[in-house]
Amino acid sequence: MSDATPAKDRVWEVFRQEAEGDPMVHGGSVKAPDEELATHYAREFYGRRQESERLWIVPREAITELDDPDLLKPPFDRSFKRPGGFLIKHKLEAARERAGTAPAEEAGE
């Protein structure tokens, strides 16, 4: 936290898990002066209706942010870096034929 932030203005980001094994998903944030109150408020905002299996409560200042467009949105065409650029559907069908297995349901996708 920058020393300039008064305790009362500290923000905590809350991540929640809806069911055991699910990924932690950002739920939102709460304001609280310390970890203990942040935990209570996170529970009230993101768990009081039994909608969460688990919460992560993270002080916002602990988060490293990257939003530099030079790093995230380079100006050149990058479509060849997407997996969609490689069509493997027909190769897959041919491979299955060779292996003598019936096409699985998802083969048509």
Binding site: K8, V30, K31, A32, E36, L37, H40, Y41, R43, E44, F45, R48
Partner: protein, 256 residues
């Protein structure tokens, strides 16, 4: 357990009513913070805790209604103000935040001790309900202890307001353990495993050191609660009663 005789059942009804009314009236008082609590997050927390208490009251009123063949909504909303049996601690109107926190600290600890004991009640429906209530009350206890500490350590103004509130509420807080008319029967049947006076002594053993540890003045007097600790009411409660029965009174025959 075997069938309850009429007098034991009457005593059990009195116990259930006293617990339900404590939760119900306190839930309504603290719901008055909705919209005006010190910070938005606490507004949601206090409102949520108040709803929990109303939920506990509902479960207790339903248990009582099943026992006496009455209706839970009728018991909750259909009595005149002088028919309520909450402890005198719940007679005080909402004033400042320190006062609400002081009351919560005193009450949550008393309630915790009452529920700890009743978890061993021979009346199984009550013991079962108490197990569920305690899971929510654990959080209440933590939350208000946290606030007690913050107000005690937060500076001269919060500390002096808190100390004044504890002093003002101290005598009426004893009334959570005011004797019940049928108490001896309940203890004999182990419906109430220990006397209320035993529970009060335990509460004092827990609350006093906590206040001392925070450097708060511990009120000296701990005179036992008077027998009418759950019977005498105030004008302030009469006002609250008018508030929480307003909708019912507007059309008593209405159905949901």
């Amino acid at each position: 357990m075997t069938e309850l005789d009429a007098q034991t059942q009457e005593a059990l009804a009195e116990l259930l009513l006293s617990m339900a009314d404590d939760e119900f009236v306190l839930g309504f008082w603290d719901s008055e913070w909705t919209g005006i609590a010190p910070i938005l997050e606490e507004d949601v927390a206090m409102s949520s805790v108040s709803q929990d208490e109303i939920g506990h009251a509902k479960a207790l009123y339903e248990l009582l209604a099943g026992l006496t063949g009455d209706d839970a909504d009728r018991i909750a909303f259909g009595r005149p103000a002088d028919g309520y049996r909450h402890a005198a601690l719940m007679n005080h109107a909402r004033t400042d935040w320190a006062s609400s926190i002081a009351r919560r600290f005193l009450y949550e600890n008393a309630d915790a001790i009452r529920l700890e004991s009743l978890a061993n009640s021979s009346y199984q429906p009550l013991a079962d309900l108490v197990v569920k209530m305690r899971r929510e009350e654990t959080y209440h206890l933590l939350h208000f202890d946290l606030w007690l500490r913050r107000l005690a350590e937060g500076g001269e103004e919060s500390r002096s307001r808190l100390a004044a509130a504890i002093d003002e509420l101290w005598a009426d807080a004893q009334a959570v353990f005011a004797p019940l008319a049928g108490e001896a029967r309940l203890v004999a049947a182990r419906i109430l495993p220990e006397t209320l006076e035993t529970l009060r002594a335990r509460w004092l053993e827990r609350v006093r050191p906590r206040l001392e540890a925070l450097g708060l003045p511990v009120p000296a007097a701990a005179t036992p609660p008077d027998a009418d600790g759950r019977i005498r009411h105030t004008e302030e409660f009469a006002w609250l009663h008018g508030e929480f029965t307003m909708v019912v009174r507007s059309d008593e025959a209405a159905t949901w």
